[in-house]
Symmetry: C2
């Protein structure tokens, strides 16, 4: 017997999945290529002892909290546990310390990475085929993928130098409503977005909040890179920390600031939920969107591994919630790498010279976007990997139309200075060769 792929859910063969598959395969087929493709944190400070120490620290914390009830400590770490998680109070403290966000611990659901938080939020908001989610294009594939799993259309909003074109956002919302759709939320990565690297200014954030209020949608604020600010200029506040933030569902990740291998993320969903008149079920008293998300989670993953939560909990305790302090070394690496990439590009593609290559200048994060003098498709990526031994991500993978564009994303967080230098040399050789063949 065999199963017909066309008889399975469309997401298994969607363009997003094909993109992911293709990019994975290229990376596997050319393991010796230097990779600007992987958006992964730096591994130079990884230490397995950290896992043991964090676990012990969290158990110590549980011991204090339970008055030395060892059976309770063991049960909390090893038994099935609370659906919303066991480090929600520590996450709330971290949010206050690092982002100035005041969140009720009960409105936090600890999830299996930010991806589960994203899925659960969309699942809760997608009631029927009229519900849609707005997202700036180019868009993080995790959002597109989660939306596909719940058959929710993503309505693309134009990007701008400030991270979102708010006029276009209004147009898209109006058109969607005219078409009978309900834009339930707008997904944004306001700080050092993936893939663009762009950050939103304070005024843009304020205007976005006002639009959300006016047009009755939520803002899904995803903030994996916020702590990795690369300049001395102050960063605007998180949208969730601003006045009027009750429309913001905040999505967090410890994959970059904690330990990726713990797979711990969370969602702050403090929006009150009520039953309107005529509803079937009883009105839940004082319930929030977090409670609804937790119900869905109980049927998706039951609860997030308390052992994995304890690893992150221990790290949060060790630094008293201050992950900016905990990541001082990493932040320096990312800042230096960003500088090395920008300077290295300047050196290899001086202004006014040919081939004419330009790039944006993010003030932090993991990504830089290059604009090349030729469009880039997957075949060119394979050529680059095979012949020049350098990998990067064609930007068309972050669009839903699959159209080849002259842009690529460079991810640099995981690299050493030598790798960046060698990688940029190879990239320059590739670009020069291609430019010559296109003229």
């Amino acid at each position: 017997m065999f199963l017909d792929r066309q008889e399975l859910h469309a997401s298994v063969h969607s363009p997003v999945m094909e993109s992911m598959n293709f990019l994975n395969e290229v990376a596997q087929d050319f393991p010796d290529a230097l990779s600007f493709a992987a958006g992964r944190p730096y591994e130079g400070f990884f230490d397995i002892d950290d896992v043991h120490r964090h676990l012990d620290r969290f158990c110590e914390h549980l011991r204090t909290r339970t008055g030395g009830d060892e059976a309770q400590v063991r049960r909390t770490l090893l038994q099935y546990g609370r659906t919303k998680g066991i480090i929600h109070d520590l996450v709330a403290r971290n949010l206050r310390v690092d982002e100035g966000i005041v969140a009720d611990p009960e409105s936090i659901v600890v999830t299996v990475g930010c991806q589960e938080a994203l899925f659960l939020t969309l699942r809760a908001l997608r009631r029927d085929e009229r519900d849609a989610v707005l997202a700036v294009r180019p868009c993080y594939v995790g959002l597109s993928g989660a939306a596909e799993l719940v058959d929710m259309p993503v309505l693309p909003v134009r990007n701008s130098a400030d991270g979102i074109d708010l006029e276009d956002l209004e147009r898209v919302v109006r058109r969607a409503r005219a078409d009978g759709l309900r834009p339930r939320a707008c997904y944004v990565v306001p700080d050092f977005a993936n893939p663009s690297g762009i950050s939103m200014g304070r005024e843009t954030r304020e205007r976005l909040l006002r639009l959300a209020e006016e047009h009755d949608f939520l803002i899904l604020e995803d903030n994996p890179y916020g702590l990795f600010h690369g300049t001395d200029k102050p960063r605007p506040p998180a949208i969730k920390a601003m006045a009027g933030a009750e429309r913001v569902v905040y999505l967090g990740s410890f994959a970059k600031t904690g330990i990726p291998g713990a797979r711990i993320g969370y969602v702050v969903a403090d929006q009150p939920v009520r039953d309107t008149a005529g509803s079937a079920g009883p009105a839940p008293e004082g319930e929030t969107l977090a409670d609804q998300v937790a119900r869905l989670k109980s049927m998706l993953t039951v609860n997030t591994s308390p052992i994995a939560q304890a690893v992150i909990g221990g790290k949060l305790l060790e630094f008293d919630g201050d992950l900016r302090a905990a990541n001082a070394r990493e932040a320096r690496v990312y800042r230096d790498n960003l500088r090395l990439v920008l300077d290295g590009l300047e050196e290899r593609f001086p202004a006014g010279s040919t081939p004419s290559v330009s790039w944006n200048r993010p003030t932090g994060g993991f990504f830089v976007v290059l604009t090349l003098p030729f469009t880039v498709d997957d075949e060119l990526l394979e050529l680059s990997a095979r012949k020049h031994k350098v990998l990067w991500t064609p930007l068309h993978h972050f669009y839903d139309d699959g159209r080849a564009r002259p842009q690529i994303r460079l991810a640099f967080a995981h690299l050493t200075p030598d790798q960046i230098s060698t990688g940029l040399d190879r990239l320059a050789a590739f670009v020069r060769e291609q430019s010559a063949s296109h003229t």
Copy 2:
């Protein structure tokens, strides 16, 4: 602002979710009540040192496998990882040792508990509104909940003393097809089912396999309790270990045999997947259902925490894949508890006496079902909890019609002999009081 619960996905206020909520609330409101309600493993042997030892053991294993490449060991445990998991080979060995199941490690996807495996499998199989899943009623709520998350109807099949009424199964399949539905799979727990405690005999398993072949559906075999066989009589083989098992998707959990707090489960999905003529995408070569499930997982939880996997991996290594041996102490507790419950019921409700109470006699697992001389609803459970300080689960929570029934489920795995004895005394007092008031 507030969100209208009726405008969220129906699963947040479905009967299954309301059931779960109610049962959780009763347990929270009466923390001093003895609980026959929680289907949890015994905690008496829990030891936090196990976590550290298993982690170390798994790292040692990685060191050997990588020839001492410490950077690779750290990367495997702490970085983002393989979507299908890093202990798939150890799971395959465990399946061979404990269940006689031969599985290609590449056909295994390690998941966040069995619940994620269940969700992903249903998500893959539910293409559109015609797709449905068959399940014996009363049915484990995790199946109903996962089906709700993907808007997939569950078609109930009658139970029997042998765990499934195969004549009814055929009737339900024929009727579904006549109604334009596609029954894609039949969910079963062939060993010590939840909630019924019933096991299927060998012949029933064989006939079920033949029906799956004849009517072109998959079998979803969920086996969390198989190792906890309570008698000396041999257990029939897992369906996945029988001839013709290519139609079986096998769902596994380490929550009862490993450590619940690791939240590690898996799915064996070795069914080949092909593109039929006229399909849009390219035909994936040699792909299986596991590859499709992994694609969906990459958009749901990215990958299962390698730290959590390592904890289970270390335990599997310590016992060379033999979890029966690893759980010798636990199996004895469960067997003794089952005996204590059955004998204790005999003692308190002797045959021919009133009130007339009967129960089934499972040969293992975590559950026994009692039939009382009166129907049982949630109000009675609250009365039992408040006045008699004993909790149990009304069986109607495992049906989709919500109709009160005269049956309750007793879960006994997590209890001590004293707790069982006291709990049965309280239960008997409750039953006597209620019988008196009903006559």
